[in-house]
Structure formats: C-alpha cells, structure tokens
C-alpha cells in the first residue's frame, strides 16, 4: 500500500508493546525461576535448579489443579455438547444468532461479579437455606470442591460450547440423511457420523478450557474458601504475600510448561489429523 518503510512504521507500537509487555516479562519469569530468594523476599541472581527441585512444597496446589481442571473441563463438555448439538442441528436459523450471542455474552462480562453471584447462591443464606425449608438440612455447598466445580462449569461453558458448535455446524446434514438412508438408527448415525466429525471442536474446546483453568485463581479463591487451593492461588500467595519471586517464577514457569505440553498434544492430535 505504502512503501515498506511505512508498513514497518505501522508495526512499531504493536512490536514494542509485545516485546516490553509480553516477551520481556515472560523471559524475566524464566530467568528468575533459576534464581534464589532474597532475605527480605524478592530475587537474588543465581543459577540453580533448587526452585524446581522444591516444587513439591506446593504439591497440594498442583494436585488440586491437575485433578479439578480436567474434571471441570470434562463437566463443561458434558453440559456443553448437547447444547451445542441442539444449537447447530435443531434450532431454526432465525434464532441461532440470538441464542449464540446469549451464550457468548456472559463470558465477556465480569467473571468476578458472576462468581460472586454463586457465593450468594451457594452460601449459607442461599440455596442451603432454601433446601432447609424443603426439609433437607445441613447441606454445605460453599467452600467445597463441588462449589468450585459449579463455578468452573458456569464460567467456562461458553468457551466449550462455541468450538463444538462450530464443528457441528459445519457438519453436512445430508451425511446424517445418507446414514439413515443406509439403515443406521439415529443413535448409530450419531455415533458413526456426528460424533467423529465433532471431535476437532471437542478437542479445541477442551484445550481452551483446560489451559485457562490451569491459571484459575478467582473461582477457587471465592468459592473454595481457601480450602480448595489451585496453582493460581499459590502464585498469588507467593508473589503478593511471601514475596518469594524465584520460587514463584518456577511455579509459574511450570504452569506455562504444562500448558505448552497441552497445546502441543492438541496440535499433534487434532491439527495434524485434520490435514
């Protein structure tokens, strides 16, 4: 459009921003993760693997995250799949846009406020009290893993529905007709045609939800009440309370590595299969 110098000029702000606010901070995390803790917190330059060797000190956080993140992802899928199927196959096109927008809009509104709503609902004055009126006494919901899982499904559902919907939407309905024409029952047709074709969407959704769950802080903090501790909560503790930057960086780097492994498995399994 313009000379290439003008084109480069257009890229300058974005490049500077990505370098200073993304690449540099991530590099700092990697460098710090090999350092040592200062006496008053912070960081002292060094090259040691001590922080990584000591990761097991936060075993509970890793265990909770690696247990609840996949569980949460699976529950999201369980809730999202029928919904996505319904939206893609059964809903009249006229309503599709509205229904889809209604799914995606909550995702963009304040996760803090929406999670807070569940404190309100699951808390002692909410659902348990309503259940109490119905004669079911002593139900405790808030500050339990169940509460955290409810919060997770609630928060990440849209992120699962969308990719699954997209893969089901692309599915040629004539394939289903062809399948039933060839004598498949609806269930067989679903298993043999719909399900395999929706696998890429399912994988994408699971990857997205899983990655974001790995770094989750708010939901366990608000609905887990300090009892359900995620890596994210450990990070907040390490950086804002105990100011152990070197160790915190090692935890953060490990988190990123787990995410990268997830993405590369996803790439191997799905992206390659699609080609």
């Amino acid at each position: 459009m313009y000379g290439s110098w003008a084109n480069r000029l257009l890229l300058v702000p974005a490049t500077v921003w990505l370098l200073v606010m993304l690449v540099l901070p991530l590099l700092v995390v990697i460098i710090f993760s090999f350092g040592e803790r200062g006496t008053a917190g912070g960081y002292v330059p060094a090259f040691t693997l001590e922080q990584y060797a000591n990761l097991s000190a936060r075993f509970t956080a890793f265990k909770n995250t690696l247990l609840l993140a996949p569980t949460g992802t699976f529950l999201c899928l369980l809730v999202a799949y029928p919904l996505a199927y319904f939206l893609a196959v059964k809903v009249h096109p006229k309503w599709k846009t509205l229904l889809l927008v209604m799914i995606i809009v909550p995702f963009w509104t304040s996760i803090l406020i929406r999670t807070y709503a569940w404190i309100f609902i699951l808390g002692g004055q909410g659902l348990p009290k309503v259940l109490g009126f119905l004669g079911i006494e002593g139900v405790r919901l808030i500050n339990t893993p169940t509460a955290v899982l409810i919060g997770i499904v609630y928060a990440y559902l849209p992120l699962m529905v969308f990719p699954v919907y997209v893969s089901l939407e692309k599915l040629d309905k004539r394939l289903l007709e062809a399948a039933s024409d060839l004598g498949s029952s609806p269930i067989e047709a679903f298993r043999n045609v719909t399900l395999p074709l929706s696998i890429p969407g399912v994988a994408t959704g699971c990857m997205l939800v899983f990655i974001l769950l790995m770094g989750e802080f708010l939901i366990p903090a608000l609905l887990g009440g300090g009892k359900v501790f995620f890596i994210g909560n450990a990070l907040v503790d390490l950086f804002l309370q105990s100011r152990n930057w070197a160790y915190g960086s090692a935890v953060a780097a490990t988190l990123v590595i787990i995410m990268l492994v997830t993405v590369s498995i996803y790439m191997k399994l799905v992206v390659r299969n699609q080609q």
């Binding site: 963009w108 929406r114 849209p158 988190l255």
Partner: protein, 275 residues
C-alpha cells in the same frame, strides 16, 4: 432437548438475575426479600472508595481501549503485507498474548516492571536534568495496568480487524483505484470505512475486558484500586447487598457494550457482504 437447553440458559442467566434482583432488595440477605428499594445504589454512590475505584477503572479502560484499537488496527493493516517467517513470529506472539492466562501475565509483568524500575529509578535520579524539576519516580499504578491491558486487548483487536480485512471484497480497493483514487485516498475513503465496525467492536471489547479485569490489575495496580479490586476486597470482608448494586451497574455497562459490539460485527458486516 428443548427443556435441557432452557435449563442451561437458566443456569447461565439466573445468577445474573439474582444479583440484579437482590440489588433492589431492601433486606440484607438472599433469603429475606424485604421489598423493592434502591437504597443500596445510594450507598454505593455515596461511598467515596467505590467511586474512586470506578473513576480509576473508567480511566484505565478508556485509555486501554483507545491505545489498543489504534495500535491493533495499525498492526492488522501492516501485517497483511508481512509474509513468511516474520509473519509467523507475529502470529505466534499474538496468539500467546490471547491464550496465556491473566495470572501469568500479571506476575510476569509485576516482577519485570518492579525489577526494571529498581534499575531505572536511580538512573533517572542521577541523570535527570535539574531544570525539569524533580526526577519522576517510576512505580506500579495506572500506567502499568494500562500497559498490560493494552498488550492483551491489542492482540484481540488485531485478530478482529484482520478477520474483517480478509473478509473485505478486494474488488472495492481496485474499484477505488480504477476511479482515480491514490492508495492513500483509497485507504481513507474505502478501507477505513469498511473496517471501521471491526475497529469499533474491538474498542468496545477492549474497554469491557479492561473494565472487568481483576487478575492482571491484582498484580500490577500498585497502590491504585480498580473497581474489580474494590469489589474483591469487599467480598473478602463479607457479602453485602452493596456489591449487588455495583455488580448490576458493571454488568449493565458490559452488556450494553458487548451487545453493541456484536451488532457491529454481525449486522453491518453481513450487509456489506450481501452485495
């Protein structure tokens, strides 16, 4: 199937509804609804801390949205011409920026900036020309939150605007050139009006994201308090109907902006592509 879908939509919207409903509750608790009242809104508006947090959030969000949409659009336009390995590097950076959890961005930015400031502040003090008054003391605050939010939302704008550019009819550019418009005039008279809905949608999404973000601000806001930070610390102190009122206001703002953004991305987009 229909009932299931309805149930999921209720699951998504009931918590939001409850917040709105109870923000008008005269009583203090979820279980006792004492009739309609707007007194909690009055409490919020009279609360100087909440109002200051709101002002901070508005400043941060609007600055972020302006910077992100300008820099993002510039980069999206420029990246069209960038090919090969450099393009792949930019694409990777953009997707990392979008995919990486906020908590990692938060801690990485925190330690990178604090470390950088520790190094830069003495330098500034020593070399600052005296006639400019006292040397500025770099610290975490507005600027660091804005810089961090801009990084993420700029990546978002790049993706949105780029999708719009690639969806644009190339013949329009040629038609403009055919009608004697120089490339510069073609940009202002054809390209910009065509991608403007996407830029505006990107602006609104950036604003919403920045306005709602808790986790990045939690790390990099320094002594400043944004509205989500204020809400979080209030929740920590106990659930009050005042939070419902703030939540309702925040949700109203986000929903309005989001629906406008959706309208811009879908409505005008489809009109111009039907011709």
């Amino acid at each position: 199937m229909r009932i299931y879908t309805l149930a999921v939509y209720l699951f998504l919207y009931i918590p939001i509804g409850i917040i709105v409903l109870f923000s008008f509750n005269a009583g203090r608790h979820a279980s006792d609804f004492h009739g309609f009242s707007i007194k909690w809104y009055g409490t919020v508006l009279a609360n100087p801390f909440a109002m200051e947090a709101l002002a901070t959030s508005l400043i941060v969000a609007s600055t972020t949205a302006v910077l992100a949409s300008i820099f993002g659009t510039m980069a999206a336009l420029a990246l069209q011409k960038v090919k090969g390995r450099i393009r792949a590097i930019y694409d990777a950076a953009i997707y990392i920026a979008i995919m990486i959890p906020g908590i990692v961005i938060g801690i990485a930015t925190l330690i990178a900036l604090v470390t950088a400031f520790k190094f830069l502040n003495p330098v500034l003090e020593n070399f600052w020309p005296g006639f400019l008054g006292d040397a500025p003391h770099l610290n975490m605050g507005y600027a660091s939150v804005i810089a961090s939010h801009t990084m993420f939302t700029m990546a978002l704008v790049i993706v949105i605007v780029r999708a719009r550019i690639s969806g644009m009819d190339r013949a329009l550019i040629e038609a403009s050139a055919d009608l004697y418009a120089t490339p510069w005039r073609t940009f202002w008279q054809v390209t910009l009006p065509q991608i403007f809905p996407a830029i505006l949608a990107g602006f609104l999404l950036s604003f919403t994201f920045s306005f709602d973000d808790f986790i990045i601000a939690f790390f990099v806001a320094g002594t400043e308090t944004t509205l989500p930070l204020y809400v979080f610390s209030s929740i920590r102190r106990g659930v009050t109907p005042e939070i419902n009122a703030i939540g309702t206001m925040v949700l109203t703002v986000s929903l309005t902006l989001l629906i406008t953004a959706q309208f811009l991305l879908r409505g005008r987009g489809s009109q111009s592509s039907t011709q």
